[in-house]
Symmetry: C3
């Protein structure tokens, strides 16, 4: 192979670590953490979570500072966690409380502790500078705790950059193509109205005198042939969270029935690395105590639909990462991309703030 | 691990992208492309192929310029292909003919289109500069369309550089070792005569008063113990194509039987990347309407034999790519390598022409 | 993805090639090499081993210098090995003795030959400078050939750096955590006494008036409740070899029984690469002809225990290689690490000697 020619210039792009550390992220859901240690990868960091005897959640770097074994392979004793290699034991603040082979504990022998805010159904984590911690995670993900709602949930891991999912849920003109046979929302064609605040981006799309797609007709009991008004809007709240709402307005309700309904979605994205993220969703109606069979049916439709999103996102990710000549080939931006483009700008500003802090690398 | 010493210098070689773009390559075979989109990787590029309503083959970059979804995950509508993400639709020339969410189509919204020449059984593709397109693919691969021939075919994907296969079929002294129990051609020992033209390299080996290996005896009906003459010759036609021929000459044919037969092989190599290629072969005799059972038997032998080549080539490739000290260890060149060495030179010249054109990177 | 921010600095550490070439390593065990070629990866080099007609072991670079096929895919003929690609044949010294296609043999056509010392049950190999070869491999691994011992053995491959295993067996305070339910040695808590020579590191731990863990009680017939003295000591002999001994002293033996027993362990580590090694162990008692059922039971316990070591070592290795911010996070060193730290120093000195020789890269 000695007289083979020079290679073409290296062009494979590196997907970047585009997630700010100074941000509330969703580590996992409340039901996933009990007394046993749970190992997670969050923003490339190994993290171990467990509950203390009083039920409070502890989050520590999942690495013993002695020989770097994962603490998650050890066991919880009282409020502490004991490494499975040599028994070094750490308290909920990350301080070493016991080294079995000696009485003196080196002052540097401690693990990083992360702040946790549990707001069921979510366990939020702050991975950034403790000095810059923000007051609580976003409020917009609280409705599943409201008994006025019936909801279902699901989770997947996608091999792609998390922003591809954020951009996906900010341009819903993909419904008619990606989800033509699952969600069956076929009339979402035009670009939405987009507004922004300092940190958020919101689209709004109105469907006046339109009919309801099957799932919404079934949930509300409104006939699929009856004209109603649909007001769709959704918001990029933070790198961790997008929410979406559909207000259904029946201008001529049957006697004794409601004239408005609300359908809500929470899209939670937690990057494990620049090329992989966990995607968690909660979906529900403001209808109490819905029939479990109906909820299960809706969960199945949603699982299928979000698997369709995962498939297309992973395919896009492969194109971005594997195409050797991508630089000749910029993205085409059209009007329906407006919300996603604005979200990229919010993210870029967030990352810039991240870099300027004392925790900057 | 902190006081571990410095690493040895990095020595893993990078296998180079040694395939000219200005060359006719075989994308696939005619039977593999119908109306449904077919996704291929050709010279590291994702390409989608489909047939128009008139049967003509279209080849486009398999990436929507909007959000980079693979067009192959969409569907063919009429002569166009519609992206499966947001419905952007492209015509056979790569021009965007529809964006569902808006009427205006940005002028840059188009995908690259590749020239196709279908000459059954092959679909040839030109991935290089359209201004430098050459007049048609090589003629030497046309015999399978000739009813005077009976043939069989096969295909595999090998994890190695495609030139390893080209070099393999230019030095057939490997028959006695790699294929001792499959092709059973055990008398190919001496170096062949090698001749070249501007672009091609041909070896020629003559076996006078020799016997026939089993497959050739069975196909021709000549006894394995009868001395005949065998004239083997093969040519590096281009980076995409090698061909080989065996002329069998029976100097004393049985009454009413032929005195000459021809056996032909087409070796098609299509790189997917510097470290992977598709290998496609057509093999046949100039005997019409051979018995299907005999053809199937010969196909089985060939599949086994070419799997032996794949195995040794992949093993060589692993040595080339994984040995950390390979630079101390040049190849030993002997007389039987003459054709392969000349082929490397033709390839190097081809790559040099490639670089000098306006399409150069 | 065009306006995404700059990536954080690359931080994934590279595990280094921390194995000296000028060292006797264990290639494999005597029973693993017969006449058929055996392919091994030793210190990143592909090596082929086979036995000559007189039983002597040959070790050659496993790459034909012609086209780099692995010689191990060929066959042994007499005392030689014949490449499976074009039949080039090499003698036990690595000299080419036959090229089938020509009579002249280029002087450079040879493969590197490695010195072998077979001392059953081990085949030792010298991969370094032949001029600097040391007089024979270490003597401390010879006891399995002594009929006074009964022993068992096992082998595994671990995805980690080999020094993690060396450090593991030099700090046995992990017994109470990693092996709490397998070896059941729960009283190894305090730091051992550590001594060194120019090249070796030895720990020593004494347990006076202590009881025996189950396996030792069963082997010796001493009751688990009887106080005895245990003298444990182990040595880092070389990068290839650690040994450990337990002397059991019964101060008040039953009439007609022995008052002392010896239990011995050989830990052999052979790196395949900086991130993978083979781990081979021999374990035995100085009790002749032990019951095969008892030996099998002990082998099962040992296999389980050493699989526990493999699991924790691989987990540590993943932390070392995958954590992007490890540099902020030095190891905490405590008193029980003393032997491991000394072993690192012996290794560093060995690697420094390696670099200074004429074989240095």
């Amino acid at each position: 192979m000695t007289d083979m020619p020079e290679p073409r210039p290296e062009a494979n792009p590196i997907i970047k670590a585009n997630y700010p550390r100074n941000c509330w992220w969703v580590a996992t859901t409340s039901d996933q953490v009990q007394r046993e240690p749970v190992a997670l990868t969050l923003l490339e960091m190994p993290v171990v979570l467990y509950r203390k005897e009083d039920g409070g959640v502890v989050a520590l770097d999942d690495r013993c500072p002695h020989r770097w074994a994962p603490l998650s392979s050890g066991k919880v004793t009282g409020d502490n966690i004991q490494c499975g290699y040599h028994g070094f034991t750490f308290g909920p603040q990350g301080d070493c409380v016991r080294i079995p082979s000696q009485s003196q504990i080196p002052s540097r022998c401690r693990v990083k502790r992360y702040a946790i805010e549990e707001r069921p159904p979510f366990i939020w984590i702050w991975m950034g500078d403790p000095e810059r911690i923000e007051t609580g995670p976003p409020e917009q993900a609280q409705w599943p705790a409201d008994p006025a709602f019936s909801f279902w949930t699901g989770e997947t891991v996608a091999d792609g950059n998390y922003m591809l999912l954020k951009e996906n849920v900010l341009d819903l003109t993909h419904f008619g193509y990606v989800h033509a046979t699952s969600f069956k929302i076929l009339d979402w064609v035009n670009p939405p109205k987009v507004t922004t605040t300092d940190d958020t981006v919101t689209y709004r799309q109105e469907f006046i005198d339109c009919t309801l797609p099957p799932m919404f007709a079934e949930a509300t009991g409104i006939s699929m042939s009856k004209p109603v008004n649909r007001y769709n809007y959704g918001t990029y709240i933070s790198p961790a969270l997008n929410v979406a709402t559909l207000d259904i307005e029946d201008p001529d309700p049957e006697p004794g029935t409601r004239s408005t309904y609300q359908f809500k979605v929470i899209h939670v994205t937690t990057p494990e690395s620049p090329t992989r993220f966990r995607y968690l969703w909660f979906v529900g109606f403001d209808i109490p105590n819905m029939d479990p069979q109906m909820l299960l049916k809706f969960k199945n439709i949603t699982d299928i639909g979000f698997a369709e999103d995962k498939a297309i996102i992973e395919a896009v990710h492969r194109r971005i990462t594997h195409d050797p000549r991508h630089l000749d080939y910029p993205e085409i931006i059209v009007q329906t991309d407006q919300a996603a483009i604005q979200a990229r700008r919010k993210l870029a500003a967030h990352l810039e703030r991240d870099r300027q802090g004392p925790d900057a690398i």
